[in-house]
Each structure stands twice: as structure tokens, then as C-alpha cells.
Symmetry: C2
Subunit: 154 residues, 2 copies
DNA sequence: CGAAATATGTCAACATGGCTGACATAAATG
DNA sequence: CATTTATGTCAGCCATGTTGACATATTTCG
């Protein structure tokens, strides 16, 4: 198992490092990336849901979210049924960036899966799902699968 | 691929979260964990090698390493052939902690792999190796495999 | 041998992105 | 109308990353 522990470390390190240079040109960091990614993937996401995905505090989120909104990557709209809510949407500009960031990571994943044969994707997926806390697994999968707005086909 | 991006995020989040509570009781953070882990796995590691594994600066390393040394989890010994070197070793106390931290993560991994069938370990391993930068892959595998001192059997 | 390269340590200052606690506002709900 | 809910915000702290400059001991090389 020790090999998996270390490989997970190395793999994740390189994986999240992909977007760094692009992010830097916008003055953004990894925190911005995570927010933008999940907003782009889940149009109309509520702030509370985003907090729950990221498991950070309101204040930590506010810092990066404000920048994304101010610079026109994310847009907030009043909830249709509940006007207290600020539903979050990626703007076209935001979606373009999210797509660009994801593209590099996708390339890396595709390359890795290519070495695994036809069942690779399903296998990798099952492994990763199994690594998630049993409790939060359904919730995580909800965000992973039940996506109505993949960036690029809004 | 989007599902893998997100699952990797969730899986890694939970995976690295396992040791947090134990670390907190020692006043340590994740940075200490990483250092202790690689030292325990590679007895006699040179500082330069550790810097290369972690990809952090000398100053960042110094901060956490000093604490680990001061509190008796890691020990520095002069290199036998090159006396400029400070080879790093986990003390018995350090190895015990490393083992304890790894045990939780190992349990999680074992559980995830159990759902994959007999080839699970090899498959997960190949996937993760494929995710590592092609350039640094050999070097990473060097540390993953060529381990002379698994904590617990020193 | 003496100069240069190497391995490591250290100081000061700064950035990012977590955190807590307290408090504010508007809207929904009972 | 009182309470709860969704969100925002202020102030400050902490962990861990960064840069740049410089110090020390030791090895290596011309």
C-alpha cells in the first residue's frame, strides 16, 4: 500500500500543477481554479452547496469568489424561487477559462488511462470513488455525475 | 474525463484528511507528515533529495524539519563519505508515528482496492504512475520502490 | 595549496489560502 | 411578528508556500 500512498502524492502534485502557469497569468491561484471549476460544472450552484463541496469556510470562499466575480468570470443571480440565494454561474469568459484549465488535466488523464486498456476509465473511477469517505460518497457523485452544464456546451 | 478530475479531488481530499486529527495532537500539520513519511521510507535521505521529492524550498523544509528534529522524530547524521551532508533518519518514535499515520491511509486504500478485484492494485498503480509527469516518473518510482527501510521493519 | 563548487543552514520579508468569532442584512417561514 | 435561513463582511490569526541574500563547512579541481 505504501506505493499507492506515494504515487497518489506524486500524481496529485503533478495533476494540480498543470494549470498553475495559466492561472498565474490571470493572477489566480488553485483556490480560484477549484471554485471556477465547480461553478462551471454546476450552473446555478448555491453558495452553500459550493461551501459543502470545498469544505472551506464562507470567508475563505468569499475572498476568491469576489475576485472571480469582479473580474467577470463568475456571475451571481438571485434565486428564482428564493431571493436570498445567489446562484452562481460561469460567464462565457469563465467557461472558456475553466475549459482551458481542464483541457490540460484531461490530456494527462487520457494519457494515463490509455495505458490501462479498455476498462481503464471504469477501473480508475471505481478506485477513486472507493477512496472517498463512505459517508460523502453519494453527495460527491451527485456533483460528479448529475451535471447539467459541462463547460463548452452551455 | 471530468469525472476523474473531480473524483481525484474528492479522493485526495479525504485521503490526506485521514491523518489530520492524529497530527493535530502532536501540533503537526500536513507538511510535517510529508517530511516524516519520506524520511521514514528512505532512511539516510539527503536533504537535497528530500527537497527534490517535495518540490519546496529549503526554507519551507527547514521550518518543519527543525520541529521534527527538535521533538525527536527525525535525526540528522553526518554523511559517512561526505561530511557536509546531513543524512536524515526517523527515530523509533518517528517511525512509530509514520506507521500510525500510514495505517489509516492504508486502510482506506485497501478498502478501495478490494472493490476492484485481484488486479486492482496493479491497475491503480499503473493509473497513478501514468498521471505523473513523464519526466519525473523514473525518479518518483525510485523513491517508491527502492525502499530499504519500510517503517516498522527497520 | 588555494580557488571554486557543493551541501546545508539561516535571516527577513512577503503571499496564499486556510481558520475563528462576531456581527449585519434580507428574505422566507411558521 | 418572531425566528430561521442564506449570504456577506470585518478583523485578525495560522500554516505553509515564496524570494533573495548571506554564512559555514567541506569537497573537488586546476
Amino acid at each position: 500500500m505504501w506505493d499507492i500512498i506515494e504515487l497518489l502524492y506524486f500524481a496529485y502534485r503533478d495533476f494540480v500543477g498543470d494549470p498553475d502557469s495559466v492561472l498565474a497569468t490571470f493572477g489566480f491561484g488553485r483556490a480560484h481554479h477549484r471554485v471556477l471549476h465547480f461553478v462551471a460544472r454546476n450552473p446555478g450552484l448555491k453558495v452553500a452547496e459550493l461551501l459543502d463541496i470545498l469544505r472551506i469556510t464562507k470567508q475563505s470562499l468569499a475572498r476568491v469568489l469576489k475576485q472571480l466575480v469582479d473580474e467577470g468570470f463568475v456571475e451571481q443571480r438571485e434565486g428564482e424561487t428564493d431571493r436570498r440565494q445567489r446562484r452562481l454561474f460561469a460567464t462565457p469568459k469563465g467557461e472558456a477559462l475553466a475549459l482551458r484549465l481542464a483541457t490540460q488535466q484531461t490530456r494527462r488523464i487520457r494519457r494515463a488511462l490509455a495505458e490501462l486498456g479498455p476498462e481503464g476509465h471504469a477501473q480508475a473511477r471505481r478506485f477513486l470513488v472507493g477512496m472517498i469517505n463512505a459517508g460523502g460518497r453519494d453527495e460527491a457523485l451527485h456533483f460528479v455525475d448529475q451535471t447539467t452544464g459541462v463547460p463548452g456546451r452551455r
